[in-house]
């Protein structure tokens, strides 16, 4: 009997599939689902009918491209997520669109992933979106990346062609401080090296995609200093309960803590969860309620006091040094006001300095000390805020080191604190 996922490992691994338009992302996922028996029979039937209606043979990409427009135009417009199981664990597969104009959808998908497959068409080679997506993955801090060289059937399964692409992409990723975990030649259309090896690729000694996925690791929660951003305050039967999610570290009943940015000491009187009495401690990632002896509001960040003689392990600042990726359609002009959102903190501000502007399609600096940021560009900036916030560098505590910028209610950029 098969065991359920929660019995096997406890976690599913979210994987994003990225790469240039038409390099075969949706087809690969359709093939992966089909070859692992993850598509229900009636779903295969539905794909057959839709394929016939569109005048094509069995089109694996239809398993993911569900919008009528996507199937007619043969492109992916928005991310879709699907689930499948290998013998080792459950996966959440995120299909990202390859067009530049759908970049914000690609970023949305990638931000939820713990590993990525970067697809390259061996015939067409490395293109703009290959570089752009690699750049985004490196900014998002994704380190588990497998390069998939697709459409090997179109080059007669040539090892030379594969080696040439491998060398080129390894060079590009090196610039971005990424070492790919694997580089795998495949044919999504024919299922070669997807779930099973292919005799025609016998010169390749590495894993199939399925084996590579199983070798990836799920995120491990590390022991870190406490970060509890207050989400809301409820009055439950006369009891004032502050609620939130523990982004890092843990909380114990009776502990002395510190409320930021006001720098006020407080004590944990009780930890509250529905129908659970006498809770003594919490886990990282848990949504909890707690009663403390001082007032707190949404946007406060509760941390542990640093013991005497030690350097503070938290930071309160009005100046944010970060790399940002611009997702809005508009051009940002230095000094324009915007809203900075990090965890539950929401503060008005503006970009005071644009140190460097990159064109992600070439991974080159286009301008230093710039005055504006254009759509789909990446920039190293300094954001000046109207009020102090408690943040960390992304490398130390990712949950408190990443943020979103909104303009009049629209998310226009994401960023990583340096």
């Amino acid at each position: 009997m098969e065991r359920t996922i929660s019995e096997v490992t406890g976690h599913s691994l979210p994987i994003v599939i990225v790469g240039h338009v038409d390099h075969g992302k949706s087809t690969l996922i359709g093939r992966l689902l089909y070859d692992t028996g993850s598509l229900p029979e009636d779903k295969i039937e539905e794909i057959k009918i839709a394929s016939q209606q569109a005048g094509r043979e069995l089109e694996f990409s239809f398993a993911m491209d569900h919008l009528e427009e996507e199937r007619q135009r043969g492109i992916t417009i928005d991310i879709a997520q699907t689930f499948f199981n290998s013998s080792k664990r459950q996966y959440v597969i995120i299909d990202a669109p390859g067009h530049k104009e759908f970049l914000k959808n690609m970023i949305t998908g990638s931000s939820q992933a713990e590993a990525a497959l970067l697809l390259i068409d061996v015939f067409e080679g490395i293109m703009d979106q290959t570089r752009r997506h690699s750049f985004i993955l490196s900014l998002l801090g994704l380190r588990q990346i497998a390069v998939i060289v697709n459409k090997m059937d179109m080059v007669d399964y040539s090892k030379d062609k594969f080696d040439a692409i491998s060398t080129e992409i390894t060079q590009i990723l090196k610039q971005l401080n990424i070492t790919p975990s694997y580089i795998i030649p495949i044919s999504a259309k024919h299922g070669s090296n997807v779930a099973k090896p292919d005799e025609r690729l016998r010169w390749f000694n590495g894993p199939t995609i399925l084996e590579a996925l199983d070798n990836f690791e799920t995120l491990v929660v590390e022991e870190k200093p406490l970060r509890f951003p207050v989400q809301d305050v409820y009055d439950i039967d006369g009891k004032r309960i502050i609620v939130g999610r523990i982004e890092a570290g843990r909380i114990k009943k009776g502990e002395e803590l510190l409320i930021l940015p006001i720098d006020e000491k407080t004590k944990v009187l009780s930890i509250e969860k529905f129908n659970e009495e006498g809770l003594e401690r919490t886990e990282t990632g848990e949504c909890i309620g707690m009663c403390i002896d001082k007032p707190a509001v949404r946007g406060d960040v509760i941390v542990k006091q640093t013991s005497g003689g030690h350097e503070k392990d938290y930071k309160v600042t009005k100046s944010i040094h970060a790399n940002i990726f611009w997702m809005g359609d508009n051009i940002y002009h230095k000094g324009d006001s915007l809203t900075f959102r990090c965890a539950t903190q929401e503060v008005e501000g503006r970009i005071g300095n644009i140190y460097r502007r990159f064109d992600p399609a070439t991974i080159e600096v286009v301008e230093k000390d710039a005055r504006e940021i254009k759509a789909a560009e990446i920039a190293e900036v300094e954001i000046a805020l109207s009020r102090p916030v408690a943040v960390d560098s992304f490398i130390e505590i990712p949950e408190m080191g990443r943020f979103v910028i909104e303009d009049k209610g629209h998310p226009v950029a994401g960023g990583i604190i340096l």
């Binding site: 359920t4 209606q53 997520q81 914000k104 990632g285």
Partner: protein, 267 residues
């Protein structure tokens, strides 16, 4: 943290975020397994007292067992239950056998919901849809803005990163909030088991058949099954080769019906 706890915490965070941002919200409860799970999570998020109304969109075509279950738990859990019905169309004789099913769903579900949203000036609606239910639902955001015509602009959805959900912009009239988006059918059943969440009897096998997905009587077909308790359902889903909504007639009319329904504001 185990798999089910991770899913639960993600959902609770989203529910609390929606309440903080919009205050004037409501949850949609169809009395099916998903929205009952969502209701359960709301009770947990707010320490047993859900601070907003629970809306049941009643087409008049639901199973008698569903009405009974609804009333029993509305009372037991102290819910502020509101029934939404498009009475005008029901009186006019709208039904699944009068013309296309898509029109019946649009009138008795989508439009009934629209009436409730405008009557109560709701800024957001919590709905228990999941990505693995349908390819179109797989493309949804957790916070999904709707415009004046209640349309879902699926070609231009907002970016959604790191649990930073979109704020209200000028052109947004209300949001659909989907706190269960990341759960699968199997997760729902395993969570139902762990939490001991009550569930309508229609899901359990009688005379070799059971309902896998609940809706209106004329448009719901039971599946062949001997699963008569939650454990047996979990076992069945794990080995099943058919889709969850295989018994739902409105999905079958046209491959793109669900897309069309959702674009118009269907849940």
């Amino acid at each position: 943290m185990d798999h089910l706890s991770a899913l639960e915490n993600k959902s609770i965070f989203i529910i609390r975020e929606a309440y903080y941002k919009f205050k004037n919200i409501a949850i949609l409860w169809s009395v099916g397994k998903d929205s009952t799970t969502l209701l359960w999570l709301c009770r947990k998020a707010f320490f047993g007292k859900i601070p907003f109304p629970v809306i049941h969109i009643d087409t008049g075509y639901k199973f008698p067992e569903m009405y009974q279950f609804r009333d029993e738990y509305a009372k037991k859990w102290g819910l502020d239950l509101i029934i939404g019905r498009n009475d005008e169309m029901i009186k006019a004789g709208m039904g699944p056998n009068k013309g296309a099913k898509i029109d019946c769903c649009s009138e008795l579900k989508t439009n009934a919901l629209k009436q409730m949203i405008s009557k109560y000036h709701l800024k957001a609606i919590l709905a228990g849809i999941r990505r693995d239910e349908h390819g179109i639902r797989a493309k949804e955001r957790y916070f999904s803005p709707r415009d004046e015509q209640f349309k879902w602009n699926y070609e231009n959805q907002p970016a959604e990163l790191w649990d930073q959900y979109k704020s209200m912009a000028e052109e947004d009239t209300h949001f659909r909030i989907h706190p269960l988006l990341h759960m699968t059918e199997l997760d729902i059943w395993e969570y139902t088991k762990r939490e001991n969440i009550p569930i309508a009897d229609l899901y359990f096998s009688k005379n070799g058949k059971r309902y896998r997905s609940l809706g209106c009587v004329p448009c719901c077909n039971p599946v062949e099954s001997t699963a008569s308790n939650v454990d047996e359902i979990i076992e069945e889903i794990r080995t099943s080769d058919t889709a969850e909504r295989a018994g739902r007639a409105q999905d079958k009319e046209d491959v793109y019906t669900m897309q069309k329904l959702r674009a118009l504001g269907y849940m």
